[in-house]
């Protein structure tokens, strides 16, 4: 029984210890500086590179460490996000710790004690003596405070003596809380986006229709084109996209860099472009005799279109292209080593009349290494081609992004309140003295003493100045 009690006490002690740890402002500063410091590492060590790059740059020992601590993908590690989580807990605990008392004390405007000595304790204070009568001065003070946008409260009124309390800009005190909560909201939005969103990239050719993950529509690229400046620099690249839903075209939009298409929660971005490595628009071929160098029946053939070669019995169809030809023996497949036209080759189907007789690869750089027409004195050579541009589209679904934007706007609002709205409290004591009235005023501001000093001086001056008139 006694032990259970002890245990409970211990739990409470540990609990309050943890609570205290997370409610400390020193923790805030430490975590902020620590986060700043470790973030630097991720900018110096390039992120998400192939392993060889790290080996080359840092050697084996450091690479092992980099991989072990996941510094190659640092911003997504448990320890980096742990720091952010610590900051969040810090914010939550601090808000719980401070906000309720602050809320109560700020809404309860009446100060607990206000007598003739109160004002003397403030560092910002001023006393003026006026010739005017008590009643007149008192009204004047209240009017002046109202004019300076103070809300006022008569603390107590006695004969020949009045205690007035004024305040302004209470809302500025809540700016920091609003900012803190907005930061949590931004992180929450980021997490939502991470869990329920996706990012994808597609290489799309004109006329192609692509499937969009998670939604019930397709997307077709109708056209892709580039714009240039007079100097030859690229000005812009554009894609004309059509949304196809249930087999019907529902929407067509031209997108470019900085102008995405947004449809049912998925955004389509013009992200890159490039020369196709596995298809062409058309190719230029010609016939050649085995023993002569002379070309004849030069003709252009379009992609996937069966075309007769003039003055011969052959028809050809262009069915494949590799910009940088390579052959994989294991899978018996042709592929392009790179996107650069290092070794361009096309595959054609050759028909004698209507009968398919061969489907060879022919090369620009190596004419005749694979005879295109078996058992014949003639061969086909590949002279050149017209390339095709592809449009690189990024697909992005991010259901959290609007929460992030909301958080950002709240944060900016919070900053405005924090930095530009000062909470001022003013205590004014008006009393009748021999030959006139004495006004003492003094008070507190949560920031920028300078502003307040000046304001008190101004009010005092106005009291005197208006009085002289």
């Amino acid at each position: 029984m006694a032990k259970a009690k002890e245990n409970k006490a211990l739990h409470q002690k540990i609990g309050s210890g943890i609570w205290k740890f997370f409610s400390s402002l020193k923790l805030t500063i430490t975590v902020l500086i620590l986060l700043a410091f470790v973030s630097i590492i991720g900018t110096v060590v390039e992120q998400n590179q192939p392993l060889e790059n790290y080996l080359m740059a840092y050697g084996e020992g450091w690479t092992k460490f980099i991989v072990y601590a996941k510094i190659n993908n640092m911003y997504y590690t448990w320890w980096y996000n742990g720091l952010i989580l610590t900051l969040c807990l810090n914010i939550i605990v601090c808000t719980f710790e401070r906000f309720p008392t602050k809320w109560k004390s700020l809404l309860k405007h009446k100060p607990s004690k206000f007598d003739a000595t109160t004002i003397e304790r403030f560092s910002n204070k001023r006393t003026v003596k006026l010739n005017a009568g008590f009643e007149e001065t008192r009204e004047h003070v209240e009017k002046l405070l109202k004019k300076s946008r103070y809300k006022t409260l008569k603390f107590k009124s006695e004969k020949d003596e009045d205690f007035i309390y004024g305040w302004r800009g209470v809302i500025g005190r809540f700016g920091s809380d609003i900012t803190h909560v907005s930061l949590l909201l931004i992180l929450f939005g980021a997490i939502i986006g991470g869990f329920y969103g996706y990012k994808d990239f597609k290489v799309v050719y004109t006329g192609d229709t692509i499937r969009v993950p998670d939604v019930d529509y397709h997307l077709r690229l109708d056209k892709f084109w580039m714009e240039y400046y007079d100097t030859g620099q690229i000005k812009q690249y554009n894609s004309l996209l059509t949304v196809v839903e249930d087999g019907k075209d529902v929407l067509t939009k031209q997108i470019w860099v900085n102008e995405p298409l947004d449809y049912k929660g998925v955004r389509f971005y013009q992200s890159t472009w490039g020369n196709a490595w596995n298809r062409v628009k058309s190719a230029n071929i010609a016939m050649i005799g085995k023993d002569s160098e002379e070309l004849y029946s030069v003709t252009d053939i379009e992609w996937q279109v069966l075309t007769p070669i003039p003055n011969t019995e052959y028809n050809v169809k262009l069915i494949g292209f590799a910009a940088d030809f390579a052959y994989d023996e294991a899978s018996n497949q042709v592929f392009s080593k790179s996107a650069e036209p290092e070794n361009p080759a096309i595959q054609i189907e050759v028909y004698r009349g209507e009968r398919l007789i061969s489907s060879p690869w022919i090369f620009v750089n190596y004419p005749g290494i694979f005879p295109a027409i078996p058992d014949s004195d003639e061969d086909i050579v590949f002279g050149g081609y017209m390339g095709v541009l592809y449009s690189g589209l990024s697909l992005n679904k991010d259901p959290g992004v609007n929460i992030v934007w909301l958080g950002c706007s709240i944060m900016i609002t919070g900053f405005f309140l924090t930095f530009f709205i000062y909470h001022r409290r003013l205590w004014v004591h008006v009393r009748k003295v021999e030959g006139g009235t004495e006004v003492s005023l003094g008070g507190l501001i949560n920031k920028s003493n300078f502003v307040f000093e000046r304001e008190i001086e101004n009010i005092a001056k106005k009291l005197q100045g208006d009085n002289k008139k």
Binding site: L25, I29, S39, Q47, T231, P260, V401, V404, F419, K447
Partner: protein, 295 residues
């Protein structure tokens, strides 16, 4: 001839003169020297404004699309910020510090290689305009002057940088003056500066302006990135460094209300923050690879 570069040369000379007059005014307090200093600050402001206007005319877009142009914007914003501060708080001695910083900034801008100074058309990612503005200006045939998130992003960021530069100057002055004050020593030149409490407050006010603008800069940058690349945040070195400076200034703001951290430690954080800004601005562009390589 590129007229903006002519105005740049003028501004460069003017900043040198302005800095010298402010320093002279700091050494010997004469009313007329102070008046000349302030007048010169306005002359330089006008000249710097002309650089920006000419630049906009020459390039046909907002004049902050490369490092050189943004430096001019930075210097321009610091100038305005300083003049506002002088008008409000009447401490001309601080002009010696701020205008010296301005001159150093102009010097570094002038030393940039020519390829940074030439007028360039915008690459595709930089062409970001607000639709409503394009539509409105189209009625007058002025649509090429429309601006967008990108311009807003750069503008906010540089107001922030400018405020931080001012706070840096003030924090350094604070640290020097405070050191002497603590020892009970003083000298004529230090006496000419406001007392360290005031310096600390002014430095805070500068950061109180800079921080929301830096935040706005980061946020609008994220909005633009989301439109151009499909993601608001991608841990690009420039982005990460902007977060680093944001964190440092956030820690400054918390340090200022924490016992044991206010005063000198907070001032050091303000200095550290601006050093991070310099790296964010120049270092990242030249040393680290990333999407912001052009500016």
């Amino acid at each position: 001839m590129i007229l903006s570069l002519v105005f740049f040369t003028f501004s460069f000379i003017f900043y040198l003169i302005t800095a010298l007059v402010y320093i002279a005014n700091w050494f010997v307090k004469k009313k007329w020297l102070g008046q000349i200093a302030t007048t010169m600050a306005f002359v330089t402001l006008f000249s710097t404004t002309m650089v920006l206007i000419m630049r906009a005319g020459e390039s046909g877009h907002a004049p902050f699309s490369n490092l050189f142009e943004s430096m001019v914007l930075f210097v321009w914003a610091v100038n305005i910020g300083y003049l506002l501060m002088e008008y409000r708080y009447k401490f001309k001695s601080l002009g010696a510090v701020i205008m010296l910083l301005e001159f150093l900034a102009m010097l570094s801008a002038s030393m940039l290689p020519y390829r940074f100074k030439s007028v360039e058309p915008l690459n595709p990612a930089l062409q970001n305009k607000w639709h409503f503005m394009v539509n409105f200006l189209e009625k007058f045939g002025l649509e090429k002057y429309a601006i967008g998130w990108l311009d807003f992003h750069v503008f906010c960021t540089f107001i922030g940088y400018a405020a931080f530069a001012i706070s840096f100057g003030l924090a350094i002055t604070y640290l020097v003056k405070n050191k002497y004050e603590v020892k009970g020593k003083t000298n004529y030149l230090l006496d000419r500066f406001p007392d360290s409490k005031m310096l600390d407050e002014l430095s805070y006010i500068a950061i109180a302006w800079g921080f929301p603008f830096l935040t706005l800069g980061i946020v609008t940058g994220a909005i633009w990135a989301n439109e151009a690349w499909g993601r608001p945040w991608s841990w690009d070195p420039k982005e990460t460094w902007s977060a680093i400076t944001w964190l440092i200034y956030a820690s400054y703001l918390h340090a200022r209300v924490t016992r044991g951290w206010r005063g000198r430690r907070a001032a050091w954080l303000a200095v550290l923050g601006f050093l991070a800004i310099i790296f964010l601005y120049w270092g990242v562009s030249f040393i680290l690879p990333g999407l912001h390589a052009y500016a």
